[in-house]
Amino acid sequence: MALLKTEGLGIQFGGLKAVDEFNFEIDKNQLYGLIGPNGAGKTTVFNLLTGVYQPTSGQIIFDGKSLLKKSPTQITQMGIARTFQNIRLFKEMSVIDNVKVGLHYSQNYSLFSAICKLPQYFRGEEAIDEMARSLLRVFDLEQFAESKAKNLPYGKQRKLEIARALATSPKLLLLDEPAAGMNPTETAELMETIKIVREKFSIAILLIEHDMKLVMGICEKIAVLNFGTVLAFGTPEEIRNNPDVVTAYLGTEE
């Protein structure tokens, strides 16, 4: 059974159909890409999947449950985590605290035990600290644990955002242009990290990316979005040979 399945998903802003008849599914442990020209509705799809927008039509089934009418918080707790196109870290908080916010529900000590300094509190905090550090280690960020997030260089901020998303222990991770603003070496490095993340955490990943070569290189399947609808959906090979895609997207680029 698919981990995530959308049926006829759509949203209108005023009269404009930003996303229309979006049919898509992703299996467990898969790495999928979502591509398309600017304004095709890629980020809107992410916003629909994470409950930031409520769809005006269609259905989203995640892990056997409908996501309609669920709040972003509930959806995140159900197992979908995401990053943002324009990095949205908790800037004034330390790097490690950013990750610890994501680990909020990994422990369940009460407010009372925190105030009375009961053993549960210390046990919980130590566990959170350990988990946060091991996540930072995956992204090579441990030495910056105590720095403010806003003081990290751009590339590391993107990595921290992924670490924070992973801290919520998702089943599906949505990455919105994770390589934006990175140089080729950083990008290559990031893609390696993404592969490792998928192996290590055994989760499904859906990523929006502009760099075609990169998407073709690492994704198992790719959905091409144009004017809010799925133009093509298939393996990189199929996408490359799809005449519609070539004219609508690749053709204009070359």
Partner: protein
């Protein structure tokens, strides 16, 4: 006929609120800040008119013009000195600064004129007009007419003139307006000048209606006018006018039919209701956050 008389009473105070609310709404629309000191500008306007007429024995016309120009200048200077350095910083610093300006003006006038109320000069003979059995004081009529005329002129100015267009552009998107060659600083100054000038008129109406003025008169008036602006949808001039009139009428009704002690509570109740039910106000549009 008591009912209609109450409506007329309400409309006349409401007209005064409306003039103040328009100033609030314009400044909020363009500078994106609650100018908490706006109420104090009204107090200053009333005092300037008082000084010119009672102390300097100037004709009414000169006093009114002096009051309007004085307030406009005060608005522009306040913006340049206190608010401009904080442009782009968090709303908290701006809010505290505005409260600071409000305290400053209140206490300055307290030192200059003392806390005792001063008698405002009589610009107009008090009397009532009787139209089909409805009694309206001349001052009420004047207040209402002035509000309508000012709103009309302002709407014309904003919608039909180049400067007005610049103001709308700055309110819509300051950065883009700047790139289009609009002088944002001048536009903001102009907004403060107009808003404060209208405040001066409201101050004079206040003086005429209540015939006593004190340094604290602006505080509650300012807050109520702000509520009127929120009620109408902040940034919306027609909305501010309608909001002001509604607040005035609601207050008059509470005083007439319930109790004067609850008139403030009703106004605040209206604010709470509108913010919970339709935060964008009666005429405002909802804005969605971009993710």
């Amino acid at each position: 006929m008591g009912f209609i008389t109450q409506i007329m009473n309400g409309l006349s105070t409401g007209g005064m609120y409306a003039l103040v609310a328009i100033g609030y709404t314009m400044v909020y629309g363009i500078a994106k800040m609650i100018n908490f000191a706006h109420g104090e500008f009204i107090m200053v306007g009333a005092y300037i008119a008082y000084v010119f007429t009672t102390m300097l024995k100037m004709p009414i016309f000169v006093s009114v013009i002096a009051s309007i120009i004085g307030c406009a200048l005060l608005g522009v200077i306040t913006e340049k000195v206190a608010y401009k350095p904080l442009r782009g910083s968090g709303s908290l610093s701006v809010l505290i600064t505005a409260i600071g300006v409000s305290y400053l003006l209140q206490n300055l006038f307290l030192i200059l004129f003392g806390s005792a109320a001063r008698t405002f000069p009589t610009y107009m003979k008090s009397g009532t007009l009787n139209i089909f059995g409805i009694r309206i004081t001349y001052i009420s009529l004047l207040s209402l007419c002035l509000t309508l005329v000012c709103t009309g002129i302002l709407l014309f100015f904003i919608n039909k003139t180049r400067l007005g267009k610049a103001m709308r552009a700055v309110s819509e998107d300051r950065g883009a307006a700047e790139l289009m060659g609009i002088n944002v600083n001048n536009t903001i100054s102009l907004t403060f000048a107009i808003g404060s000038g209208l405040g001066a008129i409201a101050g004079i109406i206040y003086g005429m209606s209540y015939s006593l003025i004190n340094p604290y008169l602006g505080a509650m008036l300012g807050i109520k006018a702000f509520i009127a602006a929120v009620l109408g949808g902040i940034g919306n001039i027609q909305g501010a006018m309608v909001g002001g009139l509604i607040i005035g009428v609601a207050e008059a009704f509470t005083i007439a039919y319930i109790s004067s002690t609850f008139s403030d509570a009703v106004v605040f109740g209206i604010l709470i209701f509108i913010l919970l039910v339709k935060p964008a106000g009666l005429f405002g549009k909802n804005v969605r956050e971009k993710v």
